[in-house]
Symmetry: C2
């Protein structure tokens, strides 16, 4: 069997603790299932800055490019709040996304039944919620040029960012959304601000044409992004797959994640295009939550989002569908048993730390 | 007494019906209080396009510029979904904002106690909610150039929008936020994406400097806009005044409005800078809701947002503070009596149409 190469980037804050629990699952899969995972590890974010003066080193970038999949923890923290913009912790993540061409960010917003009451929404609005947000991840205002601050003199500066989308970028992300919809409820809602943005006009056109040309069996709806934000709060269950650009995706997926009451539990996958020859796609898996510096190192962080990200990795990078399903079921089982980390603690539940949670999931796996 | 000049732009959809109820309040104030309002009226949006081939005529633009205040209904509808981008209904509103230099958009997100149960959030999270969102309205990605679609050949197009902010633009909107905070709970939260956008870096710097130089008595917090969206859903009552840019303000104020359960009821004010000589500021008042073409012309639209927008007009354009307070109290009283339009109907309440709601409020005024 060929080796399955994983590159681990635990990052800052609670990233390393959460990654520790995934490492145990990997070791278990190698031992008990002969899964053949080979892991290497690097630095990203503030830690990389401290070690190399960059948010990720060239050496680690090479390893990320060569791996079958990257597992990413989290980056950032107050310690690096005033490092120069170019080497801030987030720059490492953004470079990984860009250089690996991970244009498709899959963010499931699901509500774990055991946690429905933790949502700030009324339980009946979120029970059973299962949305998949597909966010474009390598274009838009995140990477467009010019992106700069100009000194205009007289104490005046000008900050500029540029939102750019080309037809092919919209086409390929729309394709991912339609493909994913076919494996679900077969419905896609595309969100932009075509009433204000020219990139939104183009987005709307290209999604419409892609739908007509290749995916007319899928139900397609268009919504303005501001109205989309409202509808997510009003009636989230109306959505199946949402496809949107990098910046709207950032905002809308965070709102959707918060709705579920399961924020600390949500995974994400960032995928590239399938290679023409091998069919393999580059991929990075990361929790939706951040580095939570306030609780880092205390052993109380919730490792579930990181573990669920690894389940996505099993599914999308290695086609280990059954194993992915089982790992996700193990998470649900542990929750149903009332085992909880502090962030999702509920009355009558058993409060555990990071390691105990990881081990409880492994025991159910 | 000098005349108080109001320019009415009812617009499309339910705009004219809602404006009809404000017209009665104006007539009543002239008669009973000798308020001296002089009104003129124009076309905007789809109606203006049908009449003039533009989203607002030059003549009406002149009248808007000359008025003490503009009252704006709503624009848009399926009838105009495929008119050219330059003359789409929204272009009329955007031109008004830009040419009148209405840089400060005030969007209160309040939860009417009688409607707390209508929110999709748990009642205790929204009861008593009172946030003021201050959205920059004449800059950012809404107006920056280049804003275009380029044909690249080979079936490829490129959509471009440009986010631009200058120091003075951030300074003046921050100033409005700090001033408003002083009349409230004295707390401002500024939101941007400084971890990704250079305009966000500048925004953060200028807000910080403005605070230090002139408003250090006000409590200032910074939040990333995506985290801000999350926090609005998680714990909205943590906020007093939120200040943010044009696009984030569009998204965040819609989410905040939806949280209140009072979406159809929320007003907004868009203000310019005080004139150097007279101290007067140009202003436009409009409901946060849209033109709701599906219920237009049926006499069932909720006129409360439009009437509450007129209350803001009384307060900010004419310093008629007591009258503004009374009008707002009249709205609350009618709601407390269980009088409801269809959109806010509740069990045991009395369902009324647009005209009856308007008259009920006038009777309490
Ligand atoms: C950390 C930051 C650069 C990032 C983003 O804005 O994309 C994060 O918010 C996310 O959503 O993954
Ligand atoms: C109608 C549209 C152009 C407008 C905007 O995007 O500003 C609306 O959504 C608003 O919030 O006032």
């Amino acid at each position: 069997m060929t080796a399955r190469n994983l590159f681990l980037l635990p990052g800052d804050g609670i990233g390393p603790e959460a990654m520790g629990e995934v490492r145990k699952i990997i070791a278990y899969m190698n031992e008990a299932m002969n899964a053949g995972f080979v892991t290497d590890e690097g630095l990203v974010g503030g830690n990389a800055y401290d070690a190399h003066g960059a948010a990720i080193s060239e050496d680690d970038m090479k390893k990320a490019l060569a791996a079958d999949a990257v597992l990413f923890g989290a980056v950032g923290g107050p310690k690096w709040d005033s490092v120069p913009y170019e080497v801030r912790p987030e720059a490492g993540l953004l470079r990984l996304r860009k250089d690996l061409e991970l244009f498709a960010n899959l963010r499931p917003a699901i509500c774990y039944p055991a946690l429905a009451s933790a949502s700030s929404l009324k339980p009946d609005l979120v029970e059973g919620l299962d949305i998949l947000i597909i966010r474009e991840l390598t274009g838009g205002v995140y990477f467009g040029e010019p992106k700069e601050i100009i000194d205009l003199g007289n104490g005046q500066k000008r900050g500029i960012d540029t939102q750019v989308y080309d037809t092919y970028e919209i086409e390929r992300i729309a394709g991912v959304a339609f493909e994913m919809a076919r494996t679900r409820q077969n419905r896609v809602c595309s969100m932009e601000k075509r009433n204000v943005m020219k990139s939104g006009v183009l987005w709307n056109q290209v999604v419409t044409e892609t739908h007509k040309a290749k995916y007319s069996d899928v139900q397609l709806e268009h919504m303005l992004a501001d109205a989309g934000g409202m509808q997510l709060v009003r009636q989230p269950k109306q959505f199946d797959v949402i496809v949107t650009d990098n910046l709207f995706g950032d905002m809308l997926s965070d709102v959707a994640a918060m709705l579920t009451g399961s924020l600390g539990m949500l995974p994400s996958a960032s995928l590239g295009a399938p290679d023409g020859k091998t069919g393999k796609r580059k991929a990075l898996y990361e929790p939706v939550h951040g580095s939570a510096p306030d609780i880092a190192g205390k052993g109380i962080a919730n490792p579930i989002a990181m573990i669920a990200s690894f389940a996505m990795c099993l599914r999308y990078s290695f086609n280990l569908v059954k194993e992915a399903d089982n790992l996700e079921k193990a998470i649900a089982n542990v929750l149903n048993k009332g085992i909880r980390t502090a962030d999702i603690m509920a009355e009558g539940a058993k409060k555990v730390g990071t390691v105990e949670m990881g081990e409880a999931i492994l025991a159910e796996f």
